[in-house]
Symmetry: C2
Subunit: 730 residues, 2 copies
């Protein structure tokens, strides 16, 4: 198959009875692969097209015949009931209440007295097992000797009778009496044997499939529904659905201590990525990651035996396969494919190590919610493309793809042309830059409890979904995804031994006490003083939201001395706070017109001394500031939702934090809606217009010499770099 500017690197979704048009799209878009989706099949005629064939494969669901015969091997989870207030000395709790019965079934096979727990949440104490009993018919737990007007909950080990993704699709698309796929647990003996046999059988039966797309492996991220068939809990990272008595007994045998329901339930917080991870939870993650990697490796080897490629979808049953985790490389996958919502999610895929290639699935999906008469899907398409393209310029995915029904897209000729052009542009970009490291001005490290494991995934609740509490932080990652800096994700543990030489700037961002801000990690004077010393000696620290928040020693922000900013908790209202005059102008906001959009308000941030450069305030709060600390600086931002304006503010803040304002206008495109990427190795530069309008900009070369350039809507203009003079020619 050809691979040039016009061909290759694109995967087309397929549809039954759409052969001719599929052929036409394949040619127009230069697609070199086709794939089926959850719910679509590949027929023989499609299989014979001149394209690689991807097929979705489910390891631990989609075989109800097997699952129904082995219901004791159904996947499990610990759930916690709602709070129940005792009004007398006995209390009954129906543990099924509030959960979707089709999904959640209490496990009374394993002894509830061993696996379940009852808590008095008012005293925060465990209720002795002798004080409660379970009626296995009614699922009612009766607690005796309750304290009136204390609140009680039950932690319940349940079977998960419905795969969450299939449940979601089933309910959303009204699949009616279509079978509800029961997920089975490959840690159990029959499932273990079955998954391998089934894969072999499938490989035998599907010789024309070139690429097995695992969707995904074994354990789903935490997702359960309520009794009204609506989502009750969703955590894209949660290990909750990977538990079983067998797993926990294996854990105990290995680690020498036992995990209890509450270690997973955590008062209803369920170890989300926002909770600073406990040692126990980190142990459990490691334990399951090793198991999952080992099992996945076995499946990948089977696929390879049949001469096929093995790729993984990043999502759904991905727990334990984290591509930035320590065991991912052992699985031996050929590629990872994932969904691209913008620059951050693009980099989440494209930065994945230890695979031969990566593939991003772009928006919009070819679904009726976008592809309806009177709507122009090109608008979303362009927006998605130029948002992700910034990130592609820093680290490209190897391939792009689309999802949904091509027959829908086919009805929109303008959109078909748009994809054709986009595909050409993508292939041009790869021709120019693939394998070449773009010029990076600085190395910026995002510091939180998770570090590398959750690269590009900080602040996420449910993949790319918007939450009021996270968008003010997400902007950091979206901005960084396309900035000409190297980005690393480091954990507090990582730098306890010392901050790596190559890091220039550290960003700590998040709400107080979360895993992202850090919580109790700041109660470590050695850690705190090492960071202070590091900044003092000439590095940058950018704190966003409630950075380094931990109330101690009269400080709330433990790095208040670096930032020059702290948060008033109410105890020191009596201390006069004078430093509320904003500067008329500042290096960091030189390109900002109008107000600084800091997102959600953090109450009562204030400047500690007159030396603090208060750049922006709102409602008597400092929203943006800088503070010189030795040879470095601390920058405070209340939040920084993604926008071109804020990307520039972050970019400038990086230089300002290093006291290197003078170096800012080297290899820079001044118009904030444009960005310049430099590839020294290829003597190339790429100037991006990140809007769909004409933009005029001034481009500075490596010595700061300026030239004015006009860019057409969404244009990418390639230029030449003279490596000697650092001059740029377009």
């Amino acid at each position: 198959m050809k691979k040039d500017i016009k061909h290759g690197r694109l995967t087309l979704p397929t549809e039954l009875d759409f052969l001719e048009e599929t052929q036409e799209l394949l040619e127009k878009w230069g697609a070199d692969a086709i794939r089926n989706s959850d719910g679509t099949e590949l027929d023989e005629t499609l299989l014979n097209l001149d394209a690689k064939v991807y097929s979705t494969y489910f390891v631990a669901r989609g075989d109800n015949e097997f699952a129904l015969q082995h219901l004791d091997e159904t996947q499990q989870i610990f759930v916690r009931t709602d709070y129940h207030t005792a009004t007398s000395t006995t209390l009954e709790i129906n543990v099924q209440d509030g959960f979707l019965e089709e999904q959640i079934a209490p496990d009374t096979t394993h002894d509830p007295k061993k696996w379940w727990q009852v808590h008095n949440r008012t005293t925060d104490e465990l209720v002795d097992v002798s004080d409660w009993s379970v009626d296995t018919e009614t699922n009612i737990v009766t607690i005796k000797n309750t304290e009136p007007f204390h609140e009680y909950t039950v932690n319940v080990l349940v079977y998960m009778r419905w795969d969450p993704t299939q449940m979601y699709n089933h309910i959303t698309n009204n699949w009616g009496d279509k079978a509800k796929e029961i997920p089975f647990d490959v840690r159990q003996p029959n499932s273990q044997e079955h998954m391998k046999k089934a894969l072999r059988a499938w490989c035998e039966a599907n010789p024309k499939v070139d690429v097995v797309r695992f969707t995904t492996f074994f354990y789903h991220f935490t997702l359960f529904f309520n009794d009204k068939r609506k989502e009750k809990f969703v955590d894209w990272f949660g290990y909750g659905s990977s538990v079983s008595p067998r797993a926990l007994e294996a854990f105990e045998a290995e680690y020498g201590y036992r995990l209890y329901a509450e270690d997973f339930v955590q008062n209803g917080a369920y170890n989300t990525t926002f909770v600073p991870p406990s040692k126990k939870y980190l142990d459990y993650i490691d334990f399951q990651q090793r198991f999952v990697a080992e099992q996945a490796k076995a499946l990948v080897e089977i696929v390879h035996e049949y001469g096929k490629e093995a790729i993984m979808f990043l999502g759904d049953n991905w727990i334990g396969t984290e591509p930035y985790g320590p065991y991912f490389k052992d699985i031996g996958l050929d590629a990872v494919v994932g969904s691209v919502g913008g620059g951050q999610t693009l980099r989440l895929i494209s930065d994945i190590p230890h695979v031969k290639y990566t593939e991003g699935r772009f928006l919009p999906y070819f679904f009726p919610d976008t592809f309806f008469e009177g709507n122009d899907p090109t608008i979303e398409g362009i927006d998605n493309w130029i948002t992700a393209r910034r990130a592609i310029m820093r680290k490209p995915v190897s391939r792009i793809g689309y999802g949904g029904y091509p027959s829908l897209a086919y009805k929109f000729p303008k959109f078909v042309d748009f994809v054709a052009n986009t595909a050409d542009e993508f292939r041009t970009i790869l021709t120019n830059i693939e394998g070449k490291k773009p010029h990076s001005k600085k190395t910026v490290a995002v510091l939180n409890a998770w570090g590398k494991l959750r690269s590009w995934q900080a602040f996420m609740v449910a993949h790319a979904l918007h939450y009021k509490q996270i968008y003010s932080y997400m902007g950091i990652l979206e901005s960084l995804s396309g900035l000409d800096v190297d980005v690393e994700f480091i954990s507090f543990e990582d730098i306890k031994a010392g901050i790596p030489e190559h890091i220039d700037v550290i960003i700590n961002a998040g709400d107080a006490h979360t895993a992202f801000s850090g919580g109790a990690v700041w109660d470590d004077p050695t850690f705190v003083s090492n960071l202070r010393k590091w900044v003092y000696e000439g590095h940058g620290f950018i704190g966003v939201g409630e950075p380094s928040a931990y109330e101690k020693g009269g400080r709330f922000f433990q790095l208040a001395d670096i930032l020059g900013i702290d948060k008033e908790l109410g105890y020191t209202l009596s201390v006069d706070k004078y430093f509320d005059k904003t500067l008329a102008s500042h290096f960091i906001t030189e390109d900002l017109k109008g107000d600084f959009n800091y997102g959600e308000q953090i109450n009562n941030t204030y400047a500690l001394t007159e030396n603090v450069e208060v750049i922006k305030m709102d409602n008597e709060n400092v929203t943006l500031s800088a503070n010189t600390y030795g040879k470095g600086r601390g920058i405070y931002m209340m939040g920084i939702p993604y926008s071109h304006e804020n990307t520039r503010i972050l970019n400038r803040a990086i230089f300002y934090s290093l006291q290197e304002e003078d170096k800012f206008k080297q290899f820079l495109s001044l118009n904030i809606h444009t960005e310049l990427n430099v590839y020294k190795e290829g003597h190339k530069v790429a100037l991006l217009n990140n809007t769909n309008e004409v933009q005029l900009t001034t481009v500075y070369d490596g010595h700061g010499n300026a030239q004015d350039i006009t860019l057409q809507p969404a244009e990418i203009k390639w230029g030449e770099l003279n490596e000697q003079t650092l001059e740029i020619t377009f």
Copy 2:
């Protein structure tokens, strides 16, 4: 002297060389007393007017001849230096830095090693005395063996060489080389003897003074300035300026344990009223209150010996004399006078027990900032009057007064007439209601750590000053000051033994972890469950801001079950929150037009269940809601700044929390800008127009029968109550 509608109950400030006009004002306003102020004198001609004469008296300042001879008896305070970051293993801190040298002088007479403290604030540990030394010449503390990049502070015992109020007036009014009055400590032997002698001498020398106005007694509230002659710290309640080695040694002898500098400094929070009080601090308050009461009593007795009255100004050097404290009654004062900023501060004065009368000093002051050509001081006068009048109708002060220069007021004839009319109205009100308990529909208790001691003073930083962090709570007190309910202030301790029978509704309001919300008090299951039971059995709970906030058992608000509201801290973003649909209408907001003004935003409040009545939301936060809890209800309000609209919301919330909506329209004036007060004892009702515009309203009698009434601007309309039929006739 006459006392009727036209005469009496009013105190006039005086001015030199203003005799004739003073005489004229005395008659016009019906004043029966004159007084001097800080900075004005009473001359012989004034003393001979037909009016009682008040004279300001300073006990512990204003006699620099004595003070300079006894500098070792100057009042003292513990202050803390700013944070200093060590960058090597030694650190020098000039303890005078950042303080006003004219006010603050380090005490090196008493051994600094005993009374000062050095802290490593990064480890939150005390530095051993062997590791630091003081240069008494330079006031520099040198610390050795410091940890690089740890922060250090010094707690310093200092002399306070300038009385804070005089300092404030001196600096504000540019008094230049006028003497700086040095406050002396009457706990010291010479000062103790001097204060009594001086008072006797003064009484002898001032036979025509009828009333000695103590301004005030011994210890000033905490107020110190910075090196730029600006306020550095102000706490109207602080006991900081009452310390001395002598006091602390007496404390230790009595209580058996020693107080250290840090017990007062508290990391810079200095035991403000927002910090949940420690046992130590409560002990110290009690210790000083007893001392102050005893000493003040001795002075009052001297005044009485001379046939004069002894009254106290509520403010300035008032520490230890708290009128709602347990020892106030022992002082034997005849009266208290204080400044009136509105209803809350009116009630703060008028509710004071154990005195013969109270006097409120009304706004505006006769100062040039209001009384200048082109301005109409009547506007501020009317506003102040109708705001305070609501509270007068519930509990009147006995007298009113004004401050400043009467010559200024005299130039504004319209204002002179306004005061004359106001004085007549005030005297009419007193004639009608004095000594008669107004009809109260409910008893509402404001619950916090301070309870009765700080009645009407919750949330205050510096008397009536506005702070962003308090106005959303202050509205509760301002609203309550004029509502037809009985108001009590109770402490957490008070109700641990049980909630008094007569209380209907409890309000807990404040920012998390403050003395007003409560902090760790909510970590007490017995306390929490008793409150729950109390509401469940048919009482009301109104939570404002972050009520009952203490993170435990998966709740942030420990009474989340009552309120139906909790605050998301970030750990449970994964829990879906569905209950964000506001009701189209609700009993509580029936009279609200437009948005609910909740003041400052509390982030991330949400409804726990579908049963919660979500009344108002903003920015995805619940700002007003109700939740049925047994026979009672919990009401959540984000904040409730004072306004007529919010007063009505609070009034309705009281009834709704008791499930007594049906009783709301009894003895009610429906227009929110009007209020009805009922005096069963006198068979009278008073209908207030709380605006300066005409208002139409519907008045409901005791059975809910309605009549329409028109009120003129600021009018108070008196009516008759038929005690049998509960009908009202105007």
